[in-house]
C-alpha cells in the first residue's frame, strides 16, 4: 500500500518536511518516552535529559505512564461504547504495551488502524512490532503532522472517510510551535472526517506547573533535545476541539479522564487531555 518510494520528499501537497536524521547524540521525544515507560529503545542522551527532568519535576514519570494509560482508556471507550472501527494514530512513537490497534482489536478484531510518524526509525519499530489481527488491518505512514495532505491521502487507502474515524494526537501537538499553526492543522484533519468522528488529544499544560518549573525544565533540555516543546494553557488546548463536543468529563488532567475504578494516586500530571465528538 504505502511505500517509501511513494513518499518521496516534495510529494506532499502542503508543508512536506524532510524526515529527521537519525541522531542519538540528542534526546528524542519518542525515546525519552520509551525510557520513562521502562523500555529499552533509548540512548544515553535520552536518559541524561530525563534524569535532569526528573530532578526538577519527579512526576514526569507519572505523567508519561498516565498519558499511556489515557490512550488505553480512550481507545477502549471508542472501540466499545462509541463503536468506532477506524483509527488514525498520529505520532505513534516507539511501540510499548497496549498500542492502539491491540486495544481496539481486542474489543473489535476488525478494527483498522493507520499509524503515522515522521521519524523513519520510529516507524520501522512500529512496522516490525505493531502487526495486526488477521480480521483487521494496520498501515503505516511516514509523514510529518504538518503534512496533512500526505497523511489524509495515504490514510484513505485503508480508512473509509465516509464512516467515523477516531483521530488521536497523543502527546504530539506540543512538538509544534505556534508558528506552524497547529490549530489549523488539527482543523484540516478533522474537516476530512465525517460527523460522529472523534478527536483525542493529550498536551503539555503550561498552567499545570508553576512557571519557574517550566523555565527550569526548558533550561535543562535546551540544546539537548531534537523536538522543541511548546507548553499551552488549558484555553489554548481547548481550541483544538473546535467543531466537536467534548465528551465527559471534558478537558481535564490526563489521569482524571475517566479513571479506572479503584485508581487513587496523589500525584498530578502536567498534561491536559480530552476527547471530542465531531458535530
Amino acid at each position: 500500500m504505502t511505500s517509501d518510494d511513494a513518499a518521496a520528499p516534495g510529494s506532499g501537497t502542503d508543508g512536506r518536511a524532510e524526515p529527521p536524521p537519525f541522531d542519538t547524540s540528542k534526546a528524542h521525544q519518542a525515546r525519552m518516552y520509551d525510557y520513562l515507560l521502562g523500555g529499552k529503545d533509548n540512548y544515553a542522551a535520552d536518559r541524561a535529559v530525563i534524569t535532569a527532568v526528573l530532578d526538577i519535576y519527579p512526576d514526569m514519570a507519572f505523567t508519561a505512564r498516565a498519558n499511556r494509560a489515557f490512550l488505553g482508556r480512550v481507545i477502549r471507550h471508542l472501540a466499545g461504547e462509541a463503536g468506532i472501527r477506524q483509527y488514525l494514530d498520529i505520532g505513534t512513537g516507539i511501540p510499548t504495551a497496549g498500542n492502539t490497534h491491540q486495544v481496539a482489536q481486542e474489543i473489535a478484531p476488525e478494527s483498522r488502524v493507520v499509524y503515522v510518524d515522521y521519524d523513519p526509525v520510529v516507524l520501522a519499530h512500529a512496522r516490525a512490532l505493531l502487526t495486526s489481527d488477521e480480521a483487521g488491518a494496520t498501515e503505516y505512514i511516514d509523514a510529518d503532522l504538518r503534512d496533512t495532505g500526505t497523511i489524509l491521502t495515504q490514510a484513505a487507502e485503508l480508512l473509509d472517510f465516509s464512516k467515523p474515524v477516531a483521530v488521536t494526537l497523543i502527546s504530539i501537538l506540543h512538538a509544534l510551535p505556534d508558528a506552524d499553526d497547529p490549530h489549523a492543522i488539527v482543523a484540516k484533519i478533522m474537516a476530512a472526517v465525517p460527523p460522529g468522528s472523534y478527536l483525542g488529544i493529550s498536551h503539555a499544560g503550561s498552567d499545570l506547573l508553576n512557571p519557574e518549573m517550566v523555565n527550569s525544565l526548558e533550561d535543562a533540555w535546551r540544546g539537548k533535545i531534537q523536538q522543541q516543546i511548546t507548553w499551552r494553557t488549558r484555553e489554548q488546548v481547548l481550541r483544538f476541539f473546535a467543531g466537536t463536543d467534548l465528551i465527559e468529563p471534558g478537558l481535564v488532567r490526563v489521569e482524571e479522564w475517566r479513571p479506572d475504578p479503584g485508581t487513587s494516586d496523589t500525584r498530578r500530571s502536567a498534561y491536559w487531555a480530552g476527547v471530542g465528538r465531531k458535530r
Binding site: M1, T2, S3, D4, D5, F22, T24, G38, K40, D41, Y43, A44, D119, P120, V121, A124, H125, R127, A128, L129, T131, Y140
Partner: protein, 300 residues
C-alpha cells in the same frame, strides 16, 4: 567480564562444575546479582560468607560459570536488601530455569560451547534483531540451503556429520512454531538474496521460503538494497537479543570463525543498537521487502 581465578580462599567441592545448559540465563542472572551486590555496598567476601561459600564462588556465580542453587539466590537477595516479592520471584524463577536441561544437549558432540550458549540466549529472548550480510538467518533456512552452508563450513566432514548439523539447524527452527515465540526482526543486505548458495534451484526455493516466513506474525524482514549505497552495517553480521525482564540488559552476539563475542555492557550494546536502528530506518519496509524478494527469486 570478571575472570578471577577460582579457588582462592576455600577448597572447591567440585559440585559447581558448570553444566553447559542455561549459560546465558546464568550470565544474565549473575550480572544482575553483581549489580545488586555492588549497589548494596557488599563485598564478594561478605556475600560468600553469607551463603557459606568462598569469594571465588560468588565471582563465578556472577559471571555465569556455575549453576545457581535456588536457596543461595534466595539468601543473597535477602542479604542485598531485595524485598520486592515480584522481583524476588522473577530471580528465583530464572535461577530454576538456568539449571534445566535443553533440547540441544543431544547435539553436544557437534556443538561448540559458544554456540550452545547462543541457543540458550535465543530461546530465552523475547525479541531477536539480526543483521545479515552473507547468508539467510539460520532460523529461516531451508534444509537444502542449510546443507549447502554447512558444507561450506565443514568441507571434509563425513556425510553423516553434515546431516546431523543440518538436523540441528532445522530442529532449532521449532522456536518459530513455539507458543509465545520470540519476535524476530531481521535486516539483510541484498547480497544475501543474490548469492546463489547451493545453486539456482536451492536458492530459488530458499527465497520462496523467506517470502512465506515473512508472513508469520512474529517475523519481520527488511532488505537493504544495493541501490541504497553504503549502509550503517559495515561491521558485518550481528544480533541483538532482548529479554522480557526489564532489568535484563540486551545482549549483542557476534559470531566469529572459532568462537563468539557476547556484549552486555550498556555502552557496547548501545553502539550496536544504534547501527541496527539506523539500518532498520534505511532498509525497505516489510511490504516492499516481500515484493523485492519475489523479484529476486524471479531473477535467479
Amino acid at each position: 567480564m570478571n575472570t578471577e581465578v577460582p579457588g582462592g580462599d576455600q577448597p572447591d567441592t567440585g559440585l559447581d562444575d558448570p553444566p553447559a545448559d542455561g549459560f546465558v540465563l546464568r550470565m544474565l542472572l549473575g550480572s544482575q546479582l553483581r549489580r545488586l551486590r555492588e549497589a548494596a555496598d557488599i563485598t564478594a567476601d561478605q556475600a560468600g560468607y553469607e551463603i557459606r561459600a568462598s569469594r571465588s564462588k560468588i565471582s563465578r556465580m556472577e559471571t555465569g560459570r556455575v549453576g545457581f542453587k535456588v536457596r543461595d539466590v534466595d539468601d543473597l537477595l535477602t542479604f542485598y536488601g531485595v524485598t520486592d516479592e515480584e522481583a524476588r520471584s522473577r530471580f528465583l524463577y530464572l535461577a530454576k530455569e538456568s539449571s534445566r536441561p535443553d533440547w540441544w544437549t543431544q547435539y553436544s558432540d557437534i556443538l561448540p560451547d559458544w554456540f550452545e550458549n547462543y541457543l540458550g540466549l535465543e530461546s530465552a529472548s523475547t525479541t531477536i534483531r539480526t543483521f545479515e550480510i552473507q547468508f539467510v538467518h539460520g532460523l529461516f533456512q531451508t534444509e537444502d540451503y542449510a546443507r549447502a552452508v554447512t558444507r561450506l563450513g565443514h568441507q571434509s566432514a563425513p556425510a553423516e556429520e553434515i546431516e546431523r548439523r543440518v538436523g540441528l539447524r532445522i530442529k532449532r527452527q521449532d522456536l518459530l512454531a513455539r507458543a509465545n515465540p520470540p519476535r524476530i526482526w531481521s535486516v539483510m543486505d541484498e547480497a544475501v538474496l543474490r548469492r546463489p548458495v547451493g545453486g539456482a534451484a536451492v536458492m530459488r526455493a530458499q527465497l520462496h521460503h523467506l517470502i512465506e516466513v515473512a508472513k508469520l506474525p512474529q517475523v519481520t524482514l527488511q532488505v537493504v538494497p544495493f541501490a541504497r549505497g553504503g549502509h550503517a552495517g559495515a561491521s558485518g553480521t550481528f544480533a541483538v537479543l532482548r529479554f522480557e525482564e526489564q532489568y535484563l540488559p540486551d545482549v549483542v552476539y557476534i559470531e566469529q570463525l572459532t568462537g563468539a563475542v557476547y556484549l552486555e555492557a550498556r555502552s557496547d550494546v548501545e553502539h550496536y543498537l544504534e547501527v541496527m536502528d539506523q539500518l532498520s530506518g534505511e532498509a525497505l519496509t516489510p511490504a516492499d521487502t516481500a515484493r523485492f524478494i519475489e523479484r529476486a527469486a524471479n531473477e535467479i
